[in-house]
């Protein structure tokens, strides 16, 4: 069985390295400050014992007051899992740092989030719409789109 790691334990380890990075933890989830996501991601991938080498799923959700970007991580080496979340307040000019340099698998998934929810990913190598065309009006998965 894939074992979900305790969010609290991982949060403690991350906080030793990056004191301001983690906002909250609950179950197998960490709420990470958006500006620190890349360093936290790299730490989770490269720290022995954590070894989160595989980004399973990356998506975002529109909660009206804020957007949440959700990262599902798994360690193939150790067969455990963790969920990272980043909250972005407001509805305009949303920017997240891209994790493509840590996990290449984020490439298309970040493009899809930009296309569907309008969150820009800074430092993404090729941030263009993935499923709709350039000039498509709005971002369809936003709750106010339709």
């Amino acid at each position: 069985m894939t074992i979900p790691l305790s969010g609290r334990d991982v949060a403690q380890k991350v906080a030793e390295q990056f004191p301001k990075a983690v906002n909250l933890c609950d179950g197998a989830c960490l709420w990470v400050e958006p500006v620190s996501i890349v360093e936290v991601a790299r730490y989770l991938r490269d720290t022995p014992g954590l070894d989160f080498d595989y980004l399973v799923n990356l998506t975002a959700v529109d909660f009206w007051e804020y957007f949440e970007v959700v990262y599902h991580l798994v360690s193939i080496k150790r067969n455990h899992s963790l969920v990272l979340r980043c909250q972005l307040q407001g509805r305009q000019e949303l920017v997240m740092p891209s994790v493509v340099e840590v996990w290449r698998g984020a490439d298309f998934q970040e493009r899809e989030i930009y296309d569907m929810l309008g969150i820009r990913f800074s430092n993404h190598p090729n941030l263009r719409r993935l499923l709709t065309w350039e000039g498509f009006p709005g971002h369809p998965l936003r709750k106010d789109w339709l």
Partner: protein, 367 residues
């Protein structure tokens, strides 16, 4: 005077027989050598995730059929498992076994198409593919027996199945299971040591182990690169922990390894089917649930090992009758991430079989 050469950009697709649907590759060539490749997709985008937000949980099941239409039953399964995880819904044992049987039949059918079309891309037009179609036809007859459909089954329900299998199904499936290993031997005889197949696939389209993991590849693509990772073993669902089977892994990560992994997986699926038929218990096939399923407030990520890789549904409920958000983790889309790295430096004809060896279905890539 020295000859001057210029890179040339070629659009492969979206209307091209070898792209398995409406998929486009913008390929930059230097002579016949590929310098760059960019996948362009979205031609079949139907907004399934948005549609989910305006349908009840049960009404969304038929739409999942239209994702990976070569393995519809598996999509049904991934979706209902995610909803059951969200709502803590128990499924009767008979339904769990029947789900495993359907999923493995679907895996054989999907792998037959994957291998058949890959050989087709290689230039062996339709003759080997028709051998594969012969067995797929038998599987489709079995599916038709179960639910009256041959492509979009809509058979799974939240809490179980839409109805029990008819009495003639199990004898027919047993006959298929006893015949199938012989047919796989026949494919091996035709293909495994075929000089042309070996020359075209060995050492071509290599995906390293590190890159396969880093680019979130899954399914036969990941296992072909030598990573022993299968959700059925790593995070067992349904009754897979009670069944014996092995996970084949490749060594080099080339096209041949991905082809070989699929062939062995078909044999393993036959093994699973044999055991599942033997262990199949009698009893209910569906848990009694209210007409409108309303899972409690929360979220769930349910994932299964689909024929093409890890198929996941991430569902958020706000206690309404429809999901608040339903995200589909499509293996076909994410397996394409490393396509460029596999083909740069190769020739045009190799790019086509590399794409064939990833086995994409555009319904799932574009959703």
């Amino acid at each position: 005077m020295a000859l001057k050469t210029e890179p040339i950009v070629v659009n492969m697709g979206p209307q091209h027989p070898s792209t398995h649907g409406v998929f486009r590759m913008r390929v930059t060539f230097d002579g016949e050598i590929i310098k760059d490749l960019e996948p362009v997709m979205g031609y079949l985008h139907r907004g399934v995730e948005k549609l989910a937000e305006s349908r009840t949980y049960t009404q969304f099941i038929p739409l999942t059929d239209r994702l990976d239409y070569l393995a519809s039953m598996t999509n049904n399964l991934a979706y209902v498992l995610a909803v059951e995880k969200l709502g803590n819904i128990e499924v009767p044992p008979r339904a769990q076994y029947l789900r495993v049987i359907m999923a493995e039949m679907m895996r054989i059918s999907s792998h037959l198409m994957a291998v058949g079309f890959m050989i087709n891309d290689m230039g062996a037009f339709y003759t080997p593919l028709l051998y594969m179609y012969r067995e797929r036809e038998k599987l489709l007859d079995l599916f038709e027996m179960v639910c009256g459909q041959r492509l979009t089954y809509n058979y799974m329900r939240i809490g179980g199945l839409s109805h029990d299998v008819p009495p003639e199904f199990l004898p027919a499936l047993k006959k298929f299971v006893s015949e199938m290993p012989g047919f796989i031997d026949e494919y091996d005889q035709l293909l495994k040591e075929n000089e042309i197949l070996l020359a075209r696939t060995k050492g071509v389209g290599i995906l390293s182990k590190e890159l396969a993991i880093n680019s979130s590849a899954s399914g036969p693509v990941l296992r072909g690169s030598g990573v022993k990772w299968d959700i059925r073993k790593a995070d067992p669902y349904l009754v897979y922990d009670k069944l014996n089977f092995e996970i084949p892994t490749g060594t080099v990560g080339d096209i041949y390894d991905r082809y070989w992994v699929r062939m062995v997986e078909m044999r393993q699926s036959v093994r699973i089917l044999e055991q599942a038929i033997e262990q199949l218990p009698a009893g209910e096939i569906r848990t009694a649930l209210p007409h409108l399923v309303r899972p409690p407030c929360g979220e769930a990520y349910g994932h299964i090992e689909a024929p093409k890789g890890e198929l996941g549904f991430y569902i958020i409920s706000d206690t309404g009758v429809a999901p608040y958000r339903c995200h589909i983790r499509a293996p076909s889309l994410i397996n394409l991430t490393a396509l460029k790295d596999m083909v740069v430096g190769l020739m045009l004809a190799d790019a086509i079989i590399t794409l064939g060896s990833i086995d994409i279905v555009l319904g799932e890539v574009d959703r």
